[in-house]
Structure formats: C-alpha cells, structure tokens
C-alpha cells in the first residue's frame, strides 16, 4: 500500500477518463452524472451496493452499453465504443463475473472464439491456436492442456482461463468483475500476483469485489457509487474498512438492522454428525426458537450444499437431522423432500428468485398462495385464500396495484417480499433462507431484515446464507463459519467482524496444510 501511495503522489498518466456519464434504462436511472478516471499502473476498486450502478458503468466502458450523455476521453480526445469489439480493439478487456465459457469446446477454442486463426483454405489453424493458448496459460502459471474441454475444468480453473482470455488480448485496461467469487484463498493469491504484475507493467485495472480484505490488499484507489451517483474517489490509504462501508451505505450500519434477540428458546432444528461429502469433516449445528443463525465464510464452501441437502435438493454423505425434537428420515428424497419438510414446517427460500423462486408470469396472489396450496392433495378443493393474500401483502408492505398484478411487473425488492411472503403465509416455523436480499435496494433490505426478525420473535427459527458478510453480522444472532464443506467455527454475531470470520475460515485451512506437510 506504501508503494501505491507513492505512485499516486507522482505524476501519473491517465489511462482513460469517463466524464459526466448518465444512463437510464426505460424509466429507471442507472447512472447520474458519474465521472471516473483510471490511472496508469493502478488497481482501482469500484464499490457500491448491488444496483448502485457499478456494472452499468463498466459495461459502458466495455462498449456493451452506450451512455445517454457524458463522454469518454483518452489522452484528451473523446472516444466512443459502439460494440464490445471496439472497446476490446481499443485495449479494454473485461472478465465478467458470470462465466462466459462454452463448456463443450476446448480451452483453446474458447480463447479464440470468433477470431480463430485460419490456414490457406479457411480451415482453423489449431497448431497456432493451441500454442498461443499454452503460452497465455503459462503466463498465469497454469499448466493446462489447451485441448482440454472446459467442462472438465474446475470452477477456479475456468475463472483463470477466463482471465487468461482477457490478458491475451494484449489490453491496457482490465475490468475484473468479482474475479475471486469462485476462487479459494490460494487461487486468490495467484490471481493477486498477476494483478500486481499487470499493474507494474503500467496497465490500469478496475477491480470489483465485495470482499473488503481483497480490496485493501490489492487496490490503490477506490471509487464508491451509491444509488446511481458518485459518492467519492479516494486513495485507499486514507480509508478503513469501516469508513468505506459507511461511504457505501450512506448511513450507519446499525440503523439498517433490527435489534437482536437476547435469549433463544428450545432447539428447533438439530443437525448432528453431518457430512456433506464423503471426504468432508462431520459437523453439528443447532438453531433455537427465536434465533437467526447465519452460515458465513467464503463463497461456495458448502453453505448452500448443506442447506439444500436438508430438503433433498443435494445428496449429502450422511448425518442426523431432527426438527423440533423429531428425527427425520434422512437423507430425504429429491422429489418429495421439499413437500415432506414443508409438512414439518420447514421452508427453503431459494436464492435465485427469478429462476427458482417465483412464477413471473403469474399473479402475486398465485405466488403467495402456492405455499398454502402445496400443503394439500391435488384432488382437494382449492381455497381462494383472498384474505390471507391481502394480509400477507399488507404486513410485508408489497407495493402493487393488487393481488392480481403479475409478479414480473414488480421491482426486485417487492418480488423478494412476495417470495418470502409465500413461506410466511404458509405458516412455516423454520425458514432456511438463501441470499435474503440479493439485488434489492437498501430500503427493501432493511424491511426484509425486519420481517425475518419479526418471524423469529414470534417463535420461528431462521438459518440464513449470504454472500454479504456484513448482512450476516448485522442480521444474525449467531454465526457458523463454513469452510471446505464443514463448520470450522462458531461465534456470536455481535462480536463477529469480516476479519475474524475470514480468519476463522482460513486459519483452519492453514493448520490443515501444516498437518498434511508434516511427515
């Protein structure tokens, strides 16, 4: 960070400058008069809540979207990118968060997709392609056969191939949108080494990540966006994680979260000797009445696999599960698991509300009442549940013209409330919630936190997964830190920080490595 500070102090050239960018999609404003500049040889963090406008800004830089107003300058001259190809030719390379590789092609075919070198008769020059790919992969320290199918790679390897793809394009500006989401600590270190190398070569890197530690580890500058507007651009040396969060949220975090519950009651969900896979360590956990428990840790460490195996949507290696003291027949079946658990009062609120949660083409009423209908056999008379639907909509303050409105017409926050409302209306007593506030604005977030807390206070029990550790710390009473498909630590949320959660997750890994290397 010292190095970074002196770099910024010196006379550095601007790689690119975006000035007064505004963009609206239909009626909703995505960016309002945002300015952003990238310096040569710096790693620039772009921060903000979901929906703050980060992705839109970067997509404009990458030529995916065109700004409604504002300009992009390079060396004082205005430039425009009509297509991603133009931006790429200009030297702007993007590694997007969602993996964009085609699984049924080889690594080399993916790397050269759309610009394959050809031989005299127009056939693809595989020799050159494979050679160049091997070289690009080697630069990242990867020893992979370019003829390997992408489907055979691990998620981390795919992410590296994606990065190699960007680096190979010989660009001068790199946009890395949550590049570490699928990587473990060791891979993150490899990636950081390459980012530093690129920086030292004088490239400019935009780094989007929600992980505070990474931001402070690797970035020099930070720009914060909030509600489509620029908050500030500052050198990271002047910031602390706390002041950065305050800048992102725009208010003190504690205002966002409801009061915690002092005393949890009798156990509602008991898990003993649970093993997610044959090679993972067994663990136990419990959730009491009135309690909200979070499953924290790095992403993809088994939190979701654990929660889904409780309702039969993932096949665990084994374990004992009891609900309100009653032992389940475990593991439960894939087809009947969700119905079985719902009959015991356990509801899983899935993460992806558009794909797994809601019936977008159907009404709010149908979406909410479905949890109630599902408790019955198909050959029983259907209740209208009009009163129940209205009650649920009112108690959750869903903003809509009425129960007949289609769910697809609602905002993300209201959709999320409808989804949660289905499980609340169905009278569940234990909720397993994946990503309770993904992609919803801050106002709706705070309301959803309140709803979950009310549910717990009325005698419910909640297990929450979230990528946003801050959310888990603020919302929950107790946290389990999950790493490598097992629980490695337990802490009161009150005393938890992002730092000690990461510490708990990673120190476990370090100690294991040590054990393995000791003869």
């Amino acid at each position: 960070m010292q190095v970074a500070a002196t770099r910024i102090g010196g006379d550095v050239k601007k790689r690119i400058e975006m000035s007064g960018i505004s963009k609206a999609f239909g009626g909703s404003v995505a960016l309002k008069n945002v300015s952003f500049e990238l310096l040569e040889g710096s790693v620039h963090a772009l921060m903000g809540e979901n929906g703050a406008g980060k992705s839109t800004l970067m997509k404009i830089l990458a030529g995916v979207h065109q700004p409604d107003s504002g300009e992009i300058f390079r060396d004082g001259r205005a430039v425009t990118f009509a297509t991603p190809k133009e931006a790429l030719d200009f030297g702007i390379s993007t590694v997007f968060q969602e993996l964009s590789l085609l699984a049924n092609l080889t690594i080399a075919e993916n790397m050269f997709l759309g610009r394959e070198p050809t031989l005299r008769f127009g056939t693809v020059d595989y020799t050159t392609m494979n050679r160049e790919t091997t070289k690009a992969l080697a630069e990242l320290g990867l020893d992979l056969d370019p003829k390997t199918m992408v489907s055979e790679l691990t998620i981390a390897e795919r992410q590296f191939v994606e990065i190699a793809h960007g680096i190979k394009a010989d660009a001068s500006i790199f946009i890395l949108d949550e590049p570490t989401a699928a990587l473990n600590a060791a891979d993150v270190e490899v990636l950081n080494r390459h980012i530093r190398r690129l920086r030292d070569e004088g490239k400019a890197i935009v780094y989007i990540s929600h992980r505070m530690d990474e931001i402070f580890e690797i970035c020099d500058m930070v720009t914060v966006l909030k509600d489509s507007e620029l908050v500030a651009t500052k050198p990271l040396a002047e910031m602390t994680p706390h002041s950065l969060i305050a800048m992102m949220v725009g208010r003190e975090l504690k205002d966002l979260f409801p009061e915690r519950n002092a005393e949890p009651g009798e156990p509602m969900l008991d898990v003993e000797n649970f093993r997610i896979s044959a090679s993972s360590e067994p663990f136990s956990m419990t959730v009491g009445k009135g309690e909200i428990v979070g499953m924290a840790g790095l992403e993809g460490q088994g939190q979701q696999r654990f929660l889904r195996s409780l309702v039969g949507q993932f096949e665990p290696f084994g374990g004992k599960v009891s609900v309100r003291g009653k032992a389940l027949k475990f593991p439960v079946s894939k087809d009947g698991g969700i119905r079985y658990l719902q009959s015991l009062g356990v509801g899983l609120v899935p993460e992806d509300r558009k794909e797994e949660g809601l019936f977008l083409t159907l009404s709010i009423g149908h979406n909410i009442a479905m949890g109630l209908h599902s408790r019955k056999s198909e050959f029983s008379l259907a209740d209208g549940y009009g009163e129940k639907i209205r009650e649920t909509m009112a108690s959750m303050s869903v903003q809509a013209s009425g129960p007949a409105e289609l769910v697809s017409a609602l905002s993300g926050g209201n959709q999320q409330k409808v989804l949660l409302g289905r499980y609340l209306a169905a009278g569940m007593s234990i909720l397993l919630v994946e990503e309770p506030t993904r992609g919803v604005d801050i106002g709706a977030k705070s309301e959803i936190y309140r709803l979950l807390r009310d549910f717990a206070n009325k005698g419910g029990a909640v297990v929450v997964l979230s990528r946003e550790t801050i959310e888990l710390i603020g919302l929950c009473d107790r946290l389990y830190v999950v790493h490598d498909d097992t629980i490695v630590s337990e802490m009161a949320a009150e005393n938890a920080t992002e730092h000690n959660i990461l510490d708990a997750a990673l120190s476990r890994q370090a100690s294991q490595v040590r054990l393995e290397t000791t003869p």
Binding site: Q342, G371, L381
Partner: protein, 319 residues
C-alpha cells in the same frame, strides 16, 4: 402517457386467446355470405364432426400446460378402433368396449407420464415412439384381415339428439365443463399453472411436480380413449387410416386457444373455441367450394398466425 396506454391495451388484448378472434371473424363471414348456414341443425352436424378433436384437445391442453406434449393419440385411436371393428372381441357389449378403451388410454397415459415426469425422457420422443409401436401392433393384428364393422349401437348413440343438439356435442361440452371446474376449483389446477410457469419454482414451493405431470398425461390418455370411441362411432367402420392428423390438429387448436409452452396460463375455453374455429373453418371452406388441399393450407396458416401473435406478445411483455 399515450404510449403507456397503448401498451396496456395491447397487453389486455393479447391476453385474449386468438381462437376467440378467429371464431368471431369466421362467424361474421358466414353470417354475411351464407346466413342460411347458421342453422342449428346444420351447425350441429359440423360441430359434431370435430367432437373427437375437441375431446382430444381437453387432454392435449393439460399436457401442454405442464410443458409436455402427447403425440401418441393416433396410435391409441387406431388400437381402440381395431378393438371395436375387428372380431377380436366377438359379441362384446358396449360397456366392455368402453372399459377396455379407457383401460388402454389409462395405461398409455400412465406410461407416457412415467417416462416424461419421472424418467425425464423427451415428451416428443416418448409419445411419438409409443404412437409408432401402437400403429405397428394394430397393423400386425390386422394383417390379412378385412376391416370389419362397428357394432350398430355406436352409430345409434352417435346419431341421437337431445333437444336439437347432437349427443356427441353435448358430451364434449359436458367434459369441457368438468375439466374447467376441475382446474379452477381443485388444487390440481394450481399445480398445473405453477408447473407450467416455472417447474423449478413449483418444486421449491412444494408442488409435487412429477406427480402433476404424470396425472396430466394420464388424464390425456383417458381423453384420447373417449375421443377414440366417438371417432369410431362416427365412421362406423374399421380402418387403419383413421385420425392420423388428429394429434397435430389438437396441438394447433390448443395453441390457437392461448395455451403456450412455458407459461402457466390458459384455460379450457380458449382451446374449446380453437376447435370450434376449425369446425367453422370447414363450414366456410365447404360453402365456398374450397377443397381438402385448401383447407390444409388455411389450417397451417392459422396456426402460423397464432404463433406469430404469441411471439409478438412475448417480445412486448419483455420490454
């Protein structure tokens, strides 16, 4: 503001199944050009012709709503026609034929449902394969034998009328009413809408998705059996060429009736009017002296228009 108004108007109109417009247009054409045709006796006869199609559509509508399809109808129809017209069951009574037909429909429907719902095999492939097997079985059984006659009790019932309306038409309307009530008043209807709109979300809200698909195919099998009985009664002879176009017409009428793959919406009456539109189309074509080939071309064009209409609507609702 004006644009907004237009868009809601478009949405409102596009929610109405195209079958209603087609039906209205054909009715107007007929009323202007050949008013004397709009007579309950003549219309009754034309509508009676499409009753097998109409009953088949009641099942097809259900399977399409759960994102599946049933193309095994022609095979079932042939087999049931063979049961009745050959001397396979000499001297059997009407209840026996009805029972064995329903049993066949049930078995085929259950098999289709099991393969599609439980084994996740492609619905098109399973039901087409079943269709081919059934057709083959009938050809094997019928080889070298002249097609026989259908017991006269079938055509006797087929030709009866209640008040002025042919009994088969009443039978169809009654079945449609039962289906409509079943889907609107029972939990099963909610399951069907949910599975059609988003099978994953249906699973996560506790809907027994596999069972819903199996039940839909089973009901479709039973409907096919009933349609086959009516069809057999209407032609009164055995044939290995009967009704091979019915399944695809059933898919067409269902789509015309506003039921589309991958949306949990649509009901019984849209496809019902889809079938009625086909009946009217035959009347209009016949009165204008257009032959079989012209009818086919027009049918195809109507299906195409319905598909374009839906493409337009999906595009509009995405923006």
């Amino acid at each position: 503001m004006a644009a907004l108004f237009n868009r809601t108007n478009f949405n409102r109109i596009s929610r109405i199944p195209p079958a209603y417009f087609v039906f209205a247009v054909l009715l107007i054409v007929l009323w202007i050009a050949r008013p004397h045709m709009l007579n309950i006796n003549i219309m009754g006869i034309f509508i009676r012709q499409v009753v097998p199609l109409g009953i088949l559509v009641l099942g097809q509508m259900l399977v399409i709503r759960v994102n599946s399809i049933d193309l095994s109808g022609a095979g079932v129809l042939l087999l049931i026609n063979f049961y009745i017209s050959s001397s396979m069951f000499p001297g059997a009574s009407l209840p026996f034929f009805v029972a064995i037909s329903l049993a066949t429909g049930l078995a085929v429907g259950l098999f289709n449902g099991y393969m599609v719902g439980k084994r996740r095999v492609s619905a098109v492939i399973v039901t087409l394969a079943v269709n081919i097997v059934l057709v083959g079985i009938v050809q094997f059984l019928a080889s070298g034998k002249p097609p026989g006659d259908v017991p006269s009790i079938f055509s006797d019932i087929y030709n009866t009328k209640l008040w002025l309306i042919p009994t088969p038409v009443l039978f169809w309307v009654a079945l449609a009413l039962i289906m409509s009530l079943f889907l609107s008043r029972f939990v099963y209807g909610r399951y069907v809408s949910s599975v059609g709109a988003n099978p994953v979300a249906a699973l996560f809200s506790g809907v027994p998705v596999e069972r819903t698909v199996i039940v839909a195919h089973t009901i479709a099998g039973l409907m096919t059996a009933l349609a086959s009985l009516v069809q057999t009664a209407s032609i009164a002879v055995g044939s290995v060429r009967v009704g091979h176009e019915l399944p695809i017409l059933a898919v067409a009428a269902t789509i015309l009736g506003g039921v589309v793959f991958g949306r949990g919406e649509g009901g019984v009456w849209g496809p019902f009017f889809g079938v009625l539109s086909f009946a009217l189309l035959f009347v209009v074509m016949t009165t204008f002296g257009i032959g079989e080939s012209g009818k086919l071309i027009t049918q195809g064009l109507i299906i195409l228009l319905a598909a374009i209409f839906y493409g337009l609507r999906t595009a509009k609702s995405r923006t």
